[in-house]
């Protein structure tokens, strides 16, 4: 997997430049730009007429694009944002009505990827399931389970291409995986599912810390801002959103705190409602598009799918464009779909192999 590369990104992730740094750098560049005499250099293959024309076009094209560049940091605040806000607020209301206690806090998720096959002939889908059961009862047993669910052609069309390729049951990836999606160089993908493997919770929970997370939009926001510290406003919005999603999908907190997380998200700019969609598990929900600032400073498009009626988050997806051998572009993605999250009195299936979980 890409765990090693992810770990490198985590270790070496740096906050963006402060406004002061960016302004200083721009001022240095501007000095340099204005110092250069405006010499006329005619490009080799263009005559004077073409050069003059290009300049004229340049003026016409560049001036508006300068404005556009200024607009790009947040193109989403205008007319569509209220809809995203409404969806999130409806989800907050519904979430507040979900069970607030139980013997266990349970999260069951399916993570998956759509990737281009190594021969670039079709799209594969590989899924894994993961379950976490946490209890705060003294002497109680917490645990987590993982299972690789296998890989298969993503659609009927992909299935035909896969059959034409001899129906392989294992896929070995080359060193160059450009345009194949979220897959590491040299990896092997198996079609056969794996066994359900149990163990201690992957993520140790500090209950004291969890209990300190306040309910209420304003207190929650202050709490998260204090943890995030001094970052640029745009970075702050992005990290607040990330924290809220983490609360909604990964933390054993009360429905009130989760409802507040929706409210904080609703107050942030940068989410756009895309209407009703089907999530990776075939469920219907409302899609909210947003952008993720990746540690290395790039931006990628992501989609959060929520069911405003039940208040539950359904999925979080990152999409990209892959390319097949015939030049056709296909959608590649990486997603986490949330099957069940919340408090329950059900018991986990500890398995017959006597898994020792603590």
């Amino acid at each position: 997997m890409d765990d090693d590369l992810t770990a490198v990104r985590d270790l070496l992730s740096a906050p963006g430049p402060t406004r002061e740094t960016a302004d200083k750098g721009r001022a240095r560049l501007r000095d340099e730009l204005s110092r250069r005499p405006r010499r006329w250099v005619t490009p080799l293959r263009t005559g004077m007429v073409a050069a003059a024309l290009a300049t004229a076009l340049g003026v016409a094209v560049i001036m508006p694009s300068d404005d556009l560049v200024l607009l790009t940091p947040d193109p989403t605040t205008a007319s569509t944002a209220p809809t995203a806000r409404q969806i999130l607020l409806a989800a907050a209301t519904a979430m507040a009505r979900t069970p607030s206690d139980g013997d266990y806090w349970r999260a069951r998720t399916v993570t998956g990827k759509l990737i281009v096959s190594p021969d670039r002939g079709y799209v594969l889908r590989r899924d894994s399931a993961s379950e976490t059961w946490l209890t705060r009862a003294a002497g109680g047993r917490s645990g987590s389970f993982n299972q690789y669910l296998g890989a298969r052609p993503a659609t009927e069309k992909d299935k035909l291409a896969w059959q034409a390729a001899g129906g392989p049951v294992s896929w070995r990836y080359p060193d160059d995986v450009t345009g194949m999606g979220f897959i590491g160089a040299g990896e092997t993908v198996q079609s056969a599912p794996g066994a359900r493997v149990g163990g201690a919770p992957k993520e140790p929970v500090d209950w004291d810390e969890v209990n300190r997370i306040p309910a209420g939009a304003a207190p929650l926001r202050s709490y998260l801002e204090a943890r995030i510290g001094a970052v640029s406003p745009r970075e702050l919005d992005s990290r607040l959103r990330k924290s809220c999603m983490e609360i909604l999908s990964g933390l054993p907190v009360s429905p009130e705190v989760r409802a507040s997380a929706y409210q904080v998200m609703a107050s942030l700019p940068g989410m756009t409602a895309e209407g009703e969609v089907t999530d990776p598990l075939g469920r219907t929900g409302q899609a909210l598009r947003y952008q993720v600032n990746r540690p290395e400073g790039q931006v990628s498009d992501a989609r959060f799918v929520v069911d405003p009626d039940s208040g539950f988050p359904l999925a979080n997806e990152t999409k990209g464009v892959g390319r097949l051998a015939d030049g056709q572009s296909v959608e590649v993605s990486s997603f986490t779909a949330y099957q069940q999250i919340g408090w329950t009195d059900e018991e986990p299936d500890w398995g017959s192999d006597g898994v020792h979980a603590e």
Partner: protein, 200 residues
């Protein structure tokens, strides 16, 4: 930026065209600064820390501006070209990079990396240990291997772009990356992925 523009927004001028226009209108070059300063800064800050990045990120664009006539669109896009310039400048600061990686092994990670895991709500017990081992493995990589690895991991360049930027054969990119990743994986050993992370 690689983000797709919403359909109702006119398409922005493409990077290579901007460079060519900046031949005659230097001020146009500032658009590239606004597009890429942030990510070039993060790349440099990730490798050298914010202090040196402040200067080097700005320097990258000055160098790019001075060399803009030698930019050849046939040899690759503007974005990797900028990373190439940044990486060349970085080569004069190898010692700082090594010092930074050593420091990661001594100090708790969140003291150094202000964008580290502290924004995560839960406590990550094993993180500090694993990151120390990772930093140590990174420090031991050869300069060439480390450049390839970090241009892919941090800058998200393709193999082809890395080959162009570092002026090395395509196959060398793959072999350097494999060698580097093998060492990192060995150093990371049995650490667990986190909830919501990549699947198995």
């Amino acid at each position: 930026m690689r983000m797709a523009a919403p359909p109702d927004v006119p398409v922005t001028v493409d990077d290579a065209a901007l460079i060519e226009q900046s031949w005659r209108r230097p001020d146009v070059f500032a658009v590239l600064y606004d597009r890429y300063f942030d990510e070039i800064y993060r790349y440099l800050a990730g490798r050298l820390g914010p202090h040196i990045a402040d200067d080097l990120a700005a320097e990258t664009f000055l160098v790019a501006f001075r060399k803009r006539r030698s930019y050849d669109a046939a040899r690759g896009a503007v974005r990797p070209w900028l990373y190439g310039i940044a990486t060349k400048l970085l080569a004069q600061h190898r010692r700082s990079e090594t010092r930074r990686l050593s420091a990661f092994q001594r100090a708790p990670v969140d003291v150094l990396a202000d964008d580290g895991p502290e924004d995560r709500v839960t406590t990550r017990v094993a993180a500090a240990n694993a990151q120390g081992r990772l930093a140590s493995a990174l420090e031991r990589l050869s300069h060439g291997d480390r450049d390839v690895l970090l241009l892919i991991a941090l800058a998200d360049l393709s193999y082809e772009e890395v080959a162009q930027v570092l002026d090395i054969p395509f196959g060398t990119v793959g072999s350097r990356l494999n060698r580097a990743r093998k060492k990192l994986r060995a150093a990371l050993g049995g650490t667990n992925p986190m909830i919501g992370g990549s699947d198995g």
